[in-house]
């Protein structure tokens, strides 16, 4: 394997319902820094049906080149078809690095591609860097349940691959009108070679604000005692117009569904305001919310680690503070609304 042949930073562009998934844009932002350091090109690999037009957005977010596989066969994500396209693209254009979002799709695809190439794959990275001279990717990630951070290297193989957690990297400010090079490709895969079919896609239709999109999250932990106590979180969330988040212990206790879990094994969130009520602040939880705009913690234990990670802290009993807050907030808000008129 001649490492010289492998050049450029690639990002697998995930498309959902005809739109680019945010993590892909974030990765273009991260990829741009790596590409600049290596003085090489940043490319997006765009696979799907009727996706070609999305290339323009990718240029605006920093891509120099977009490899596109636009074909009805790629209508739905399926491991075999997408993998085949990406493998062929890889073999033809030999990138130095490929980044994927650590989503169901990104992780699935990356694992398959890594095995077939074969090459090393670092999962769930949260920090990326590259050695300017050698092109060695330094992908760092939490390991052992978040107890440690580890930097993973892949010295003997190219391309180097990593999946990256959503919401960890920052997308560039789009540069309207920026353009790049479009490389249209066709994959050799045929429908009859693919052994899976997507029968249907079911979207959760709940009106509830999704926590990874919410501006305000009110999250509760084991400190609320039981499911009934946890209602306090729902109440505050409703009053503030926010989404409900939870620690893993709460989810495991069944007080609230899985998709509310914030943290390493849940969702990473970056709301403008994050409330942590009765949450101790285990590192696995912290990694999922530490980039929030404003973090407010309420905990009756002055030594709870959560206070280390919050902008404002209240030592006190949630059952006392939160109802007071709800009441005062409602009052104040009435005043505000009246003032505005």
């Amino acid at each position: 394997m001649n490492f010289e042949d492998y050049q450029g930073i690639w990002v697998f562009i995930e498309v959902k319902d005809g739109e680019i998934v945010p993590v892909s844009l974030e990765l273009l932002g991260a990829g741009k820094q790596l590409a600049d350091k290596r003085d090489s090109e940043l490319a997006g690999v765009l696979i799907g049906e009727n996706v070609k037009h999305l290339a323009n957005t990718l240029y605006e977010y920093g891509a120099d080149t977009v490899y596109v596989y636009d074909d009805p066969i790629f209508k739905d994500y399926r491991t075999e078809s997408y993998m085949k396209a990406l493998l062929e693209c890889c073999q033809k254009y030999k990138p130095e690095v490929i980044l994927y979002g650590a989503t169901s799709t990104g992780k699935d695809l990356a694992s398959a591609v890594a095995t077939d190439l074969p090459t090393g794959l670092t999962a769930d990275s949260t920090i990326l860097d590259i050695e300017e001279d050698t092109g060695l990717l330094l992908a760092s990630r939490p390991a052992f349940g978040g107890n440690i951070m580890a930097t993973i290297l892949c010295k003997k193989y190219r391309p180097q691959m990593a999946t990256v957690r959503p919401k960890v990297m920052k997308a560039l400010t789009p540069e309207p009108g920026r353009t790049g090079r479009l490389v249209e490709e066709t994959a050799s895969i045929k429908e009859e070679d693919i052994r899976t079919k997507v029968l249907k896609i079911v979207q959760h239709t709940t009106k509830k604000i999704r926590i990874d999109e919410a501006d305000i999250i009110v999250a509760g932990g084991k400190g609320l005692g039981n499911q009934k106590g946890f209602q306090l979180v729902h109440q505050l969330a409703e009053t503030l117009g926010g989404a409900v988040g939870a620690s893993r212990d709460v989810v495991e206790a069944g007080w609230v569904g899985h998709h509310h879990q914030v943290g390493q094994t849940g969702v990473t969130v970056t709301p403008k305001i994050y409330f942590a009520i009765g949450i101790s602040g285990a590192i696995q939880h912290i990694v999922g919310m530490q980039n929030s705009g404003l973090i407010i913690a309420i905990n009756n234990d002055p030594n709870a680690p959560i206070f280390q990670s919050s902008h404002y802290g209240i030592v006190g009993d949630a059952f006392e503070i939160v109802p007071l807050l709800i009441e005062q907030f409602k009052q104040a808000f009435n005043r505000e609304v009246v003032d505005h008129v």
Binding site: D76, T79, T103, S104, K107, D108, A112, A114, T115, D116, P118, T119, G120, L121, A123, D124, L138, R141, A143, F144, N147, I148, M149, I152, L153, R195, T196, K197, V198, L199, I201, V202, Q203, R210, L240, G241, K272, I273, I283, I286, I296, P305, F307, Q308, S309, S310, H311, Y312, G313, I314, G316, L324, Q328, F329, K330, A332, F333, N334, E336, V337
Partner: protein
């Protein structure tokens, strides 16, 4: 009759693992070794499918000798047979080398009894990657089905399976040919309290253990540390953000101070807050 192989791993319970703050190393001895929690769900799903369609469940692990304990745990859940590959040559494997070794073992198991379905956990709590399952699938040229949170149907006659794959905001229903490999989410099932019959069986159970030499046509270069493209170059403690302002006073005062903080961001609340008042 289905033959299902569940891949399982013994892991340190990372929830209670202790770190040496000076050296940043893990005191592995401080954490008891447990069956990877996700894998318990994998085995349970295999057992449920066995009950639904008939067949046998084998579990497979690669690990050091004490991992026999994890196999016994699986027998408690209801697995019929346990295989373990254990050899110094496997040590230090990353996901690529692990999936290679496990694939070789599955090939050998298939010779004893053809394998229809492989089930893995979503991920291990020490490796945290979720890459081993799909890796095995690719090597055995089976369709990998990741993030499975429901098995709707298995039709052995016609050779297909229908499963739900969890997505960020819902799920998709996939039909795949068999044999295939699934990695399953935790919510796919609840692992019930094992019956006494299974407990006694497990207490007596001796797994089948293979060393590298027992696996045919194995390429030693692809095993363990040697066969692992990734290496860990540096380990450090995650940085903890430093604390902010504490809002003091009696509960009423605290709430009021907090309210003032919130009111600084009042643009966030205008619409929804008003509705509620």
């Amino acid at each position: 009759m289905l033959h299902i192989v569940a891949c399982i791993k013994q892991v340190p319970d990372t929830k209670i693992i202790k770190m040496n703050p000076k050296t940043n190393t893990m005191d592995r001895a401080s954490a008891p070794a447990i069956l990877n929690p996700y894998d318990a769900h994998a085995v349970e799903e295999a057992v449920r499918l066995k009950k639904r369609y008939g067949g046998t469940v084998s579990v497979l692990t690669m690990g050091p000798p004490p991992a026999v304990k994890a196999i016994r745990k699986c027998i408690e859940i209801g697995a019929d047979e346990g295989y373990m590959i254990s050899d110094r040559a496997f040590a230090g494997a990353d996901t690529l080398a692990t999936s290679y070794a496990l694939t070789k073992a599955i090939e050998k198991i298939s010779k004893i009894k053809p394998v229809d379905l492989i089930i893995c956990g979503k991920m291990t709590i020490d490796g945290d990657t979720g890459q081993v399952g799909p890796g095995i699938a690719r090597r055995l040229d089976m369709p990998p089905l990741t993030s499975v949170n429901k098995v709707e149907e298995i039709n052995q006659q016609e050779g297909y399976a229908v499963v739900h794959r969890k997505l960020e905001d819902g799920y998709e229903v996939i039909q795949s040919t068999m044999p295939c490999l699934m990695s399953v989410e935790k919510e796919i099932n609840d692992v019930p309290y094992s019956s006494m019959t299974n407990m006694l069986k497990a207490a007596r159970y001796q797994p089948i253990i293979w060393a590298v030499a027992d696996l045919e046509g194995i390429d030693r270069v692809q095993l363990g540390l040697k066969g692992s493209p990734t290496i860990v170059s540096k380990v450090w403690a995650p940085t903890k953000p430093s604390g902010g302002t504490m809002l003091e006073g009696d509960p009423g005062e605290q709430a009021e101070k907090l309210l003032n903080v919130l009111l600084e961001k009042k643009e966030l609340f205008t619409v929804k807050g008003g509705d509620n008042s």
